[in-house]
């Protein structure tokens, strides 16, 4: 288990309990297999990233985890119990989520949005609302108090009575997170939490996610911003063509040539200049840089490599990978006295299996 800087008690191994355990999740829509045999675990106190090119099936996989879709094969366990197939029951069980496109309740106030998130943790039904017994008032007061705490946590306490849609974009994103947190989840799924944000806002979102992790909530995050994801995550899983390509710490993932190939295509075969004498693939070279930065270094021809190339490559790679999948999690347990550098949490130990 890699530890990023902020948890002082990292050495005392706060992790261990497996919060989310997806096994062999496969999702087919008719003839199209959007997600194929994906395994993923998230442990408590962990931030796990899920990356992949557009259309890789990240959001579909997310929807399988949250009950919006029922996986065609495989199962998802939350703290040992198989998740029910409907999304409100999943939330009730303890998994909250945000959406890729902001889906706030636009014509409700900020406070009401958070109160809606509190729905599963309140039990007052219609009768109780009509009769307004003391228990009802107490529950409402408690819910408002908790909602205001959450708004303070994300820094929107002064805008509690604003309509959600009148908030600026970054604050809407934050509010969505607060709404998800209101259901007291054990795991929160963030679908591209920094899409459309500027660097400062991304930075703030990063802080927020660390703070959520420190509250003891496991985080699974989809993101396209590589710098963000490699700063943030203890482990990163790469999804390509619906299959998990690799999983490991950011160092491992960044330096994996299949990942680079998946994002950029295979430069060697495609580049016309290099066709005669196949040069060694440039992939390992920019290991220190983010994969994104590598894109600019490639020749334009290379980055426009047809999708078919990687389609051929990806399944093989994933099949090689599959047996190793179970392993890393258990070995992650060894506490790692990590240096307090926030930016690149290096953790060679946990990534070794994947380097093969």
């Amino acid at each position: 288990m890699t530890t990023t800087t902020k948890t002082a008690g990292a050495t005392t191994a706060p992790t261990g309990e497996t919060v989310l355990d997806a096994r062999g999740v496969t999702m087919r829509f008719g003839g199209l297999t959007a997600v194929r045999d994906v395994n993923l675990t998230v442990n408590s106190g962990e931030i796990v990233g899920l990356i992949g090119p557009n259309g890789a099936g990240k959001t579909t996989f997310f929807n399988c985890l949250t009950g919006l879709y029922v996986p065609t094969e495989g199962e998802v366990r939350y703290k040992g119990t198989v998740l029910p197939p409907t999304s409100y029951k999943v939330t009730d069980a303890g998994i909250a989520r945000t959406f890729q496109n902001i889906r706030l309740f636009h014509n409700m106030t900020v406070l009401e949005n958070v109160l809606v998130g509190r729905h599963t943790r309140m039990k007052q039904g219609l009768w109780s609302a009509l009769l307004r017994l003391p228990a009802f008032k107490k529950a409402e007061a408690e819910a408002s108090k908790r909602a205001m705490e959450l708004l303070e946590f994300i820094g929107l306490q002064d805008k509690a009575q604003h309509l959600a849609k009148n908030l600026p974009y970054g604050e809407q994103r934050k509010l969505e997170i607060a709404r998800a947190l209101a259901s007291d989840p054990g795991l929160i799924l963030l679908d591209e939490p920094t899409a459309g944000m500027n660097p400062q806002e991304t930075r703030a979102a990063e802080e927020l996610i660390f703070a959520i992790r420190d509250m003891g909530i496991a985080v699974l995050v989809i993101e396209h911003d590589m710098r963000f994801i490699f700063n943030l995550c203890d482990r990163v899983a790469v999804l390509v063509q619906g299959q998990k390509l690799i999983e490991g710490d950011s160092q491992t993932v960044q330096s994996d040539e299949r990942v680079i190939a998946a994002y950029l295509g295979e430069p060697v075969e495609a580049a016309p200049a290099a066709a005669a004498a196949p040069a060694p693939a440039p992939a390992p070279a920019p290991a220190e840089d983010e994969a994104k930065d590598a894109a600019t270094e490639e020749t334009p021809e290379a980055s426009e490599t047809p999708e078919t190339e990687e389609a051929d490559e990806a399944p093989d790679a994933a099949e090689d990978e599959a047996p190793a999948d179970e392993a890393p999690d258990s070995e992650d347990e060894t506490p790692e006295p990590a240096p307090a550098s926030e930016d690149t949490p290096h953790d060679p130990a946990s990534g070794k299996e994947n380097d093969a």
């Binding site: 409907t86 014509n107 409700m108 219609l126 009509l130």
Partner: protein, 611 residues
């Protein structure tokens, strides 16, 4: 508008474009203001003159010194114009009238005054065969109101920035563009310049007195409207009330009143019910109490529908069927001779049966359909409404079992008798005679209070928030842990149950229940289309909206008999116009207002900046 000529000026120096002039440019401001005040005062004065020589025009406007009929309405708008004019001069003691400042209230008041005056004068001229039938008083009032309007329109206002015309556009586009500019400055002429001042802090007893005053005025207006005796008077009432209300709301008084009522919300609602309960006492006979009780039934059902449509966002096109289920259930156990069940339940049991039967039907209809999204529910409820009517028609003993007597319905439903109080007989309370319909009016008021309570309390709770969340975004609501199906079913069944509740009383009020009372659309108000229209017109998701909408939708067809066959047509046109210009309904929900008029807040210059 003068777009092109102003264009170069605007581009070089933006300041002169915002020059404050009136819609009528040539009258200086001081003269204009004096003209408005003079016109208003003259209008008031001429209301005490005779306007026509013959009493043939309804209301008899031939007397000197006693305004009658339409003259009363002209008097009201004239006084309003004069007062606003004085207030715009800053005369001490009248400044509280225009807390929002600006001249827009004055302009609208003058417009209202002009409209009602010229409507009256026109009606006299047409009805009696020419303007020659006007006495000098009629001519004077017409002139005075015209002068007041001209004066008001000449008052300066902040012109909006005019967008230049793109010379490369087609002439049609240029025309549209200029028309748009003209419309923008026309609207600006009537726009308020400021928001209402906050009320000074007052002792709460004073505030309560003000609320009581406002409610008394509302009761007075409503009573007057219900009591209008002839078409001209009611049309005039619509003009006066509509434009007058617009003027008062521009002045900021309405905003201040809303501030007060929302501060003392429970008290205001209690006060409103008290005011409504006073209505039968203002009437000398049962004629208008009849209207009152029908309006109440209609409004109560509309409010129930508002839970389903306004809060939970479920489009129910067959809602009147639930009213029918309740009414039939109550009629069957009422001891009516034509009921096949020879039972006579006490009222409390009948009301439980009626509401319970509707609830059961609500669950039966909702359970299979509410799992689906989109328009399925609308189709199924539309079908259910028709199925109910036809099924009731067919259970007449020949086409099916004999339960409902088919198209004859269940007649001679006995009057209610609660704790020895006979609803059929007239009672004398404190010197006032309270007739049969007034008795039912009080009962219906009680039922409406229940519905209001249910609406408010359920709306402001965990379940109410869940309804709104489902309406806003069902996927997100599910992801927040809301059991969408369950919550929607509760809304649907609750709405059905409340309609059934109203239905039990309706059966007794109307003596007879027949299938033809429960149509999808028809000229007589409690039908599904009118119910939905009342909710949408009044304002979805608000409490007072459906009540206002239902009152209007009941009164207008009832009062304007001359429209006859064109009634539904006129209704459709009115609905389209309202949806175009005030999509949030008459009583705007704070949320909807922001939702629909979001664009108005963005600077107009964005509209065609890049073109």
């Amino acid at each position: 508008m003068t777009t092109i000529s102003e264009n170069p000026k605007a581009s070089t120096a933006p300041e002169p474009a915002a020059e404050a002039t009136g819609l009528i440019g040539f009258v200086p401001e001081k003269a204009a203001r004096a003209l408005t005040l003079g016109g208003g005062v003259l209008t008031v004065a001429s209301c005490f003159l005779a306007w026509t020589w013959t009493p043939r025009f309804p209301g008899d406007l031939t007397y000197y010194g006693s305004p009658a009929g339409l003259q009363m309405q002209v008097l009201v708008t004239g006084v309003l114009t004069a007062l606003f004019a004085l207030s715009s001069y800053g005369v001490k003691g009248t400044r509280w009238l225009t807390p929002a400042g600006g001249d827009s209230a004055l302009k609208l008041a003058a417009l209202a005054n002009f409209a009602i005056t010229w409507f009256t004068v026109g009606a006299i001229s047409i009805q009696l065969g020419g303007p020659v039938n006007l006495e000098p008083g009629g001519a004077v009032v017409a002139l005075a109101s015209l002068l007041a309007l001209l004066g008001a329109l000449a008052l300066p206002f902040e012109r909006p920035k005019v967008l230049p015309v793109d010379p490369e556009d087609t002439s049609w586009d240029q025309f549209k563009h200029r028309a748009g500019n003209g419309w923008a400055s026309f609207r600006a002429a009537f726009a308020t310049t400021g928001t209402a001042r906050r009320l000074p802090t007052m002792h709460s007893s004073v505030e309560i007195l003000i609320i009581a005053g406002v409610l008394a005025i509302a009761l007075g207006v409503f009573t007057y409207g219900v009591g209008t005796e002839y078409d001209e008077l009611f049309l005039g009432f619509l003009i006066t009330a509509g434009l007058g209300f617009a003027a008062v709301s521009k002045s900021g008084l309405v905003a201040q009143a809303t501030q007060l009522t929302s501060k003392h919300q429970n008290l205001s609602i209690a006060g409103a019910f008290t005011a409504a309960a006073l209505f039968p006492f203002t009437q000398t006979d049962d004629q208008y109490a009849t209207l009152g009780v029908y309006i109440l039934i209609f409004a109560t059902v509309a409010l129930g529908l508002n839970i389903v449509v306004g809060l939970a966002g479920l489009l129910d096109l067959g809602y009147v069927a639930f009213l029918g289920v309740g009414a039939y259930a109550a009629a069957l156990v009422s001891g009516a001779p034509s009921s096949p069940f020879g039972v006579h339940f006490p009222f409390w049991a009948a009301i439980l049966v009626g509401a319970g039967a509707s609830l059961v039907f609500g669950v039966l209809i909702g359970a299979p359909t509410l799992r689906l999204r989109g328009d399925y529910l609308a189709i199924v409820t539309l079908g259910f409404g028709e199925i109910f009517r036809i099924a009731v028609m067919n259970t007449d003993g020949t086409s099916g079992p004999d339960i409902t007597n088919g198209s004859n319905g269940i007649s001679s439903i006995p009057n209610l008798n609660i704790l020895g109080f006979d609803f059929g007989a007239a009672h004398s309370i404190a010197g006032f005679t309270i007739g049969r319909f007034a008795n039912y009016f009080f009962l219906m008021l009680l039922i409406m209070a229940v519905v209001v309570l249910v609406f408010r309390r359920s709306g402001d709770s965990r379940i109410g928030r869940a309804w709104v969340a489902i309406r806003e975004d069902e996927t997100a609501a599910l992801a927040m842990g809301i059991n969408g199906f369950r919550v929607k079913l509760i809304a649907f069944a609750l709405g059905a149950g409340l309609a059934g509740l109203a239905g039990t009383v309706q059966a007794h009020v109307t003596y007879t229940v027949t299938p033809e009372q429960y149509l999808f659309a028809g000229p007589i108000p409690p039908n599904s289309a009118f119910l939905l229209a009342a909710v949408v017109l009044g304002g979805m998701g608000t409490m007072s909206g459906p009540l206002v909408g239902a009152s209007l939708l009941f009164l207008i067809p009832n009062k304007l008999q001359f429209m006859g066959e064109y009634q539904l047509f006129a209704f459709g046109v009115a609905l389209i116009l309202l949806m175009r210009f005030r999509p949030e309904g008459i009583i705007a929900n704070r949320r909807n207002q922001l939702e629909f008029h979001e664009k108005d807040e963005t600077p107009a210059t964005l509209a065609k900046a890049g073109a």
